[in-house]
């Protein structure tokens, strides 16, 4: 009886959210092309094939990285398995001058921005904390503390406004974060700032259903995209496993941002098919049936199905992509294994623009200490 009463109380405390419009989707899980009145997408066969190539190569890179972690070559890896379409679709919607701010799982975005995947492996191997130049590929550094980058993106977008770099040929910003991050103060502050400043920033939330072990219900009582309404800008939910849907929705939001219409929240509804990171064990908190149901919505397979059923690609095409994936995998593997550790004394570099006397003294101290073992090593 008591249990029942508690159940009733709980249901009173959690009214059902308003009915949602269906997911925006341009390619069904079965690989059928559909149209959406608000998101017309003109995309050539070659472009779809290029997207497919991205999806396959990114998945292979991820697969290789997981294997490298298992073999002790990487300290940890945060897999993007299942989120390839959300990342590739959104990142391929960006212009060359647009700026992207990632979390630590945006390997597909990094790929599309032209960053060598080996730079990502450096981070997860413990050779650097990132170390690429954000200006070179218009890709911010991986940000590990959840949600912090949403404010950096918003500030950067405020800079675009001040530079007068808006307009049809202008610039805009996209920032990536997950469902868990929507509970962070920084993300909510970023929504407020972007809203009141009308900043040209697109908030791209990959709702992969799980924040490590916490399901979406621990973060929100309403679908995440609905939150935008309360902050005063548009929000929409797209099938995050549909690369074409993500491309179309992101293109439109980025265009709106560039043209001075302010921020948009895109919720890409997807699924983290793997573990949070290689240190995680999802079997402790979720049922395998859930994973099986999402496998039917696989983001890569549906594009393959589309290409096959529309007779747009032959076996040679798929074999070619697979061969290229093998090459990417082999190159990543070889580069990772050959990657040298940084010199110990390099830890003192780049703390400030000019080293302080204190840092120089500590560097000399460590150098002398390391040198004191030199004789010992020679003696062996």
């Amino acid at each position: 009886m008591a249990v029942k009463a508690a159940g009733r109380a709980a249901s009173r405390a959690h009214p059902k959210p308003p009915a949602s419009p269906p997911l925006i989707q341009l390619l069904t899980p079965e690989g059928e092309r559909t149209e959406h009145p608000d998101y017309p997408l003109e995309v050539s066969t070659d472009e779809i094939k290029a997207l497919y190539r991205d999806l396959v190569l990114v998945r292979r890179m991820d697969f290789e990285a997981i294997a490298l972690q298992r073999q002790g070559e990487l300290g940890i890896w945060a897999s993007l398995l299942g989120q390839e379409a959300a990342q590739v679709g959104s990142a391929r919607a960006l212009g060359p001058r647009d700026m992207a701010f990632p979390t630590y799982r945006e390997h597909g975005v990094a790929w599309c921005r032209g960053l060598d995947p080996i730079k990502l492996l450096e981070l997860f191997r413990g050779v650097s904390h990132g170390g690429w130049d954000p200006r070179e590929h218009r890709l911010g550094l991986y940000t590990i503390v959840i949600g912090s980058q949403t404010l950096h993106a918003t500030g950067y977008a405020m800079g675009i406004q001040r530079d007068g770099a808006l307009g049809e040929d202008g610039e805009a910003v996209i920032v990536y974060f997950g469902d868990g991050a929507t509970s962070q103060g920084d993300v909510n502050e970023a929504f407020i700032w972007a809203s009141v400043t009308n900043a040209p920033v697109v908030f791209f939330c990959q709702n992969n259903q799980w924040a490590i072990s916490e399901p979406l219900e621990r973060q929100s009582r309403v679908p995440l995209y609905l939150r935008a309404q309360g902050f005063g800008f548009p929000g929409m939910q797209v099938d995050g496993n549909d690369v074409l849907g993500c491309l179309a929705v992101t293109k439109k939001a980025m265009r709106a941002a560039r043209e001075g219409q302010g921020p948009t929240l895109i919720e890409a509804y997807t699924y983290r098919m793997g573990a949070h990171t290689t240190t995680d064990d999802p079997t402790r908190y979720r049922l395998s049936a859930e994973l099986e149901s999402w496998k039917l919505k696989d983001p890569v397979e549906r594009v393959r199905q589309y290409l096959i059923r529309s007779a747009l690609a032959d076996e040679g095409f798929f074999a070619g992509i697979n061969a290229e994936a093998d090459e990417v995998g082999a190159r990543i593997r070889a580069s990772c294994i050959q990657m040298a550790d940084p010199a110990p004394l390099s830890m003192f570099d780049n703390v400030f623009t000019e080293p302080t006397a204190q840092l120089e003294a500590e560097r000399a101290q460590l150098a002398a200490y390391l040198d004191s073992f030199a004789d010992e090593e020679d003696g062996r």
Partner: protein
């Protein structure tokens, strides 16, 4: 030379920095039309426009987080945190992002962000308006931490930190905002000396007294009072708290053999402890007495009716000088 309050001197320094570099922005709560609760940004929005001097939402993490983004875009934001106790919502952005982003980028980025914080007590305020959190920032690698002590130095230092390519936490002694002195607005910055150098306020031979921020005036007055008792204090305004100008400290202690560190912040885990350790290590055979610390107690900041018993004052500085001689 013009007689200016410390608040007005900062205002003039900010104005000059904005004139010199169109990338300099001022952002914070109430910094625009109101000119800041201490009037440090008075009139700047009117003269430089709302794009360059702007009121932000009431969200300190947002202030620092968006300042980082603006810096990544090539701007030089000067953020005002309204009161010391309000910096903590921004602590994550400062410690995890601002301080580490250059390092993370292997030196490919600069983060020229200044965070101005009115600090310290003595104004009869409610809780969270009288804190001295400098040690928390000095403990964080990647941040420069400085404190200005008088109007002339404030005028120069605020301009220096704005031209600095590293992130700087800039402490302003709020109870000294209305102290006045002659400031040379026409003079260059060279006279102020480098940003990371201490300066001697009073030359003496008996005891080294180290101070910064609100304690600069207190310790300068202590030197005068001590002289009447026949004791000669070597008073040094540290100015830069991270990095510390240790050569200046060591030179003085080797000369005097005694050292007293004075700050409003709690002694426990404070900068005085760091300085004491370094002085002991480098000046061990010169010391006539242990390094003594004068500062706040290991309590939260007390209610303002009893803050005078918490805050170091001239008598407590002189008492420490006496104790130093008792060894």
């Amino acid at each position: 030379m013009t007689a200016l309050t410390l608040s007005k001197a900062l205002n003039e320094g900010l104005r000059k920095a904005m004139e010199n570099d169109p990338k300099v922005l001022i952002m914070g709560e109430d910094v625009g039309r109101l000119g800041g609760v201490f009037r440090v940004t008075d009139g700047l929005q009117k003269d430089f426009g709302e794009d360059r001097v702007f009121d932000t939402p009431l969200a300190e993490s947002g202030i620092v987080g968006t300042a980082i983004g603006l810096a990544l875009r090539g701007y030089r934001p000067v953020c005002e945190i309204q009161f010391d106790g309000f910096v903590f919502p921004a602590f994550n952005q400062i410690v995890n992002q601002l301080a580490k982003m250059r390092y993370r980028s292997l030196g490919k980025l600069i983060l020229p962000v200044v965070i101005r914080i009115p600090c310290g007590g003595g104004i009869g305020a409610v809780e969270h308006h009288s804190e001295s959190p400098e040690a928390l920032f000095a403990h964080t690698a990647g941040l420069r931490v400085v404190a200005c002590g008088d109007p002339a130095d404030a005028y120069a230092m605020i301009q220096q930190v704005i031209t600095c390519d590293d992130p700087v936490i800039f402490f302003e002694p709020k109870r000294r905002y209305w102290d006045k002195m002659e400031v040379d607005l026409a003079g260059g910055l060279a006279a102020a000396g480098p940003l990371d150098r201490a300066r001697t306020l009073a030359s003496g031979t008996d005891v080294t007294v180290l101070c910064y921020g609100p304690m600069v005036r207190t310790c300068a007055e202590a030197a005068v009072a001590a002289a009447a008792d026949g004791r000669s204090l070597d008073v040094i305004d540290l100015r830069s708290l991270a990095p510390l100008d240790t050569p200046a400290i060591f030179d003085s202690v080797r000369k005097t053999g005694r050292c007293v560190v004075v700050h409003e912040a709690p002694v426990t885990g404070g900068l005085g402890g760091e300085i004491a350790a370094r002085v002991t290590q480098e000046c061990f055979y010169y010391l006539q007495a242990p390094v003594l610390r004068v500062g706040g107690y290991s309590t939260p900041y007390p209610p303002s009716r009893i803050e005078e018993h918490y805050l170091p004052d001239l008598d407590r500085v002189l008492d420490a000088v006496d104790r130093s001689f008792a060894y």
